[in-house]
Subunit: 191 residues, 2 copies
DNA sequence: ACCTGAACACCGTTCAAGT
DNA sequence: ACCTGAACACCGTTCAAGT
């Protein structure tokens, strides 16, 4: 059990880097700008992480872990899998509310070819965590059907990701909400 | 009517730049690498375009125009709007086949905040063209329903974009196909 | 008209040097 | 242990100079 009296340098670096990467991606993660936000020089970052690749991998891994915690909390809070499914888009909406940011995983999926291997793996892990959670909720809600649940889960994940991407491109959260309503009406999260 | 005996320098630049941008985005579009592919020096690019921003805007505008032509051809080829709708994902699939590339618009939607204004507008135009075409097909097929057709069209566009993003992240075209099957079964393109 | 080579400020990264 | 300043090769961009 760790105390959190005041965040460590590494924590502050990871938090700032996550926010930058959600808005500008891996390529747009400027180490001089990041260091500025943390109050150190760019060279000092290399005392905490051996390279930008390692820093970004740490960011992506922590992002995936945090996502798992959020999903577990959503499951526990709602109690019912049907409700948890319907509220799944909330985390994606929260990124848009937060200065039109994106899911780190979606941005980096676009940048995939230019990503260091460690970051690629962390991104895969994020997607896997989300799909596994969705598949479990679908099955618990008795919505698995004939097709494999993980495929249905992937369809939900892709649709929500695409809606976030489109809403961000138009800087229009109302569009994201309208798309989610449309998907709900089409039975994407239920029937 | 223009002849196309041999492509102009500008054409060759735009074609190469489009391919690079589909794989690496605006930020990943390296002018020295682009110039190399075309067989000139980076500085020479500025004789054809006043800046990287203008070059990218030209790329995005041509991409949107080409997309309009492809959609018109799909409409004409199939004759029936229901069939045109079902075959809509083909263009997105083609990008993935082409060295795991993405729709330029999706990549740049992620990069939106870092894009020059002219590029942002061209990206919006691409999305608008796609949504308008989809809405027209939905209406022609009598699938408009109570909700506005452009919203239903946006839902299709977002879902296909998200599926492409996810399939690219896994470098797995079969996943894209499976997701499209899933969406078709759910009635996204029809019922 | 079209191209080059050299230069500018900026990036990721390294490293000697400080405390 | 943690940080800085200066340096490296690389980027977008400019521009004088060539043909």
């Amino acid at each position: 059990m760790t105390t959190n009296a005041s965040p460590t340098s590494v924590d502050r670096i990871l938090t700032a880097a996550t926010r930058i990467a959600q808005a500008h991606g891996y390529g747009g993660l400027n180490l001089r700008a990041l260091a500025d936000q943390v109050g150190i020089k760019a060279g000092s970052l290399y005392h905490h992480f051996p390279s930008k690749a390692d820093l970004a991998a740490a960011v992506a891994r922590r992002y995936a872990e945090d996502s798992a915690v959020v999903l577990a909390a959503l499951e526990a809070d709602t109690g019912r899998p049907e409700l948890a499914l319907r509220r799944y888009p909330e985390t994606f909406r929260r990124s848009l509310e937060n200065d039109n940011r994106m899911c780190l995983c979606s941005f980096m999926a676009a940048e995939y070819d230019d990503l260091p291997a460690a970051v690629q793996h962390a991104i895969q892990a994020f997607a896997d965590i989300n799909v596994a959670w969705l598949a479990r909720m679908l099955q618990a809600a008795g919505l698995a059907g004939a097709k494999p649940a993980h495929l249905r889960a992937s369809a939900i994940f892709a649709a929500v990701s695409g809606a976030q991407l489109m809403a961000r491109g138009k800087a229009d959260i109302a569009l994201f909400d309208a798309l989610m309503d449309n998907y709900r009406a089409a039975g994407l999260f239920s029937a």
